[in-house]
Amino acid sequence: MSEPRDEWERWQEDWQGGGVTPDARQLPARLRRERRRMLLAVAAEAALALAACAGIAAALVHTPRGFDRRWGIAVLLMLAASWAIATWQRRRGDGLPLAAATDGFVAVARRRCRRQLRAVRLAWLLAALELAFLVPWWIDGYRVHGLHPGSPLTWFAWWVPAAAIAGLLAGTLGVWRRARAELEQLDRPEVVSSAAGRATPGPGRL
């Protein structure tokens, strides 16, 4: 296919006339910042999971009913599993093969978004299960112990778990939105056609 070389050459000249080499000296500091941020995120996640587990454990100690105990243990195990999965995924990084060709990369990026959406759905399911266990216990606990909103036990058994669940919902909602938006962008026809570049292109597809 013949192309007017002079046009490309002119554009090449215009193109290469700009662009300043980025300053790589900032990299070590940036890496340190990223590591700190990741450690903080892991610590916050661990604290949240432990607080939720402790809340359920405290509820289990106080509950006399066998069904509630079994239900609570199941939720506890699911919470621990979900935390372990999240930690494992974090250790693996974002899992994107950055050095792969575009088609493979876009396919993996899309899979990663879908995986994030599934993980969020799992977190919401766990939160619902936890609430299904905690709400009856909160109601019974209030009645049995004659609690008032400011008492230490109320803080430990009500406010902290409630805040943890609210935090979990807010955090996962953010992840959900970002993953949805990213997936929408990656699913745009022009990106899809990039990933399927071997096919014969139709009008406007390249």
Binding site: D14, Q16, L98, E190, V191
Partner: protein, 167 residues
């Protein structure tokens, strides 16, 4: 990172830094975001370098990483910059008319390339950086024929975006 990788990374920055900055400019329409993306690209190359075993040429590897980082960057942001108008270019460096004119042409081209569809954009970016059709095909994972088609369509689109007449 081993000493050898560090030296290699420094050489990559020296040899391809300008090209990477231009590529970042095509993916980050806002001037303020460009440095950020440039740094992200360098970080991605720095991280990926120890795993690079020479399966492709180093240049192909660098541009693959940079482009893939550009895709994720762009997929998380949705704005598209308008083409800069006359007199809008901020680069008012000492050497007056010629330099300003060159900067203006560069900025307009960057903005126009940034508005091309994803696959065309990468093909054009690499072509403008002087990569051969074979190298572009290796970066994008497509055939050389597809590269030629993309470039032909991109040329047409660029002419329209830049307001240039058909020859």
């Amino acid at each position: 990172m081993a000493e050898e990788d560090s030296q290699r990374f420094e050489r990559i920055v020296r040899e391809h830094g300008g090209a990477l900055a231009r590529l970042a400019a095509a993916y980050a329409p806002e001037r303020a975001d460009r440095d950020d993306l440039s740094q992200e690209i360098l970080l991605a190359i720095w991280r990926a370098l120890p795993r690079f075993r020479g399966e492709s040429s180093e240049r192909t590897f660098v541009f693959r990483v940079a482009h893939n980082r550009g895709i994720t960057y762009r997929s998380r942001r949705r704005s598209h910059a308008p083409l800069p108008e006359e007199g809008e270019v901020a680069d008012a460096a000492p050497d007056p008319v010629a330099r300003l004119e060159r900067a203006r042409r560069h900025e307009r081209l960057v903005a126009a390339v940034g508005r091309l569809p994803e696959p065309q954009r990468l093909a054009v970016l690499l072509h403008l950086e002087g990569l051969s059709h074979r190298e572009i095909a290796a970066v994008q994972g497509i055939t050389e024929e597809n590269v030629a088609v993309r470039l032909a369509r991109a040329r047409k689109a660029l002419r329209q975006l830049l307001g240039e007449a058909e020859p």
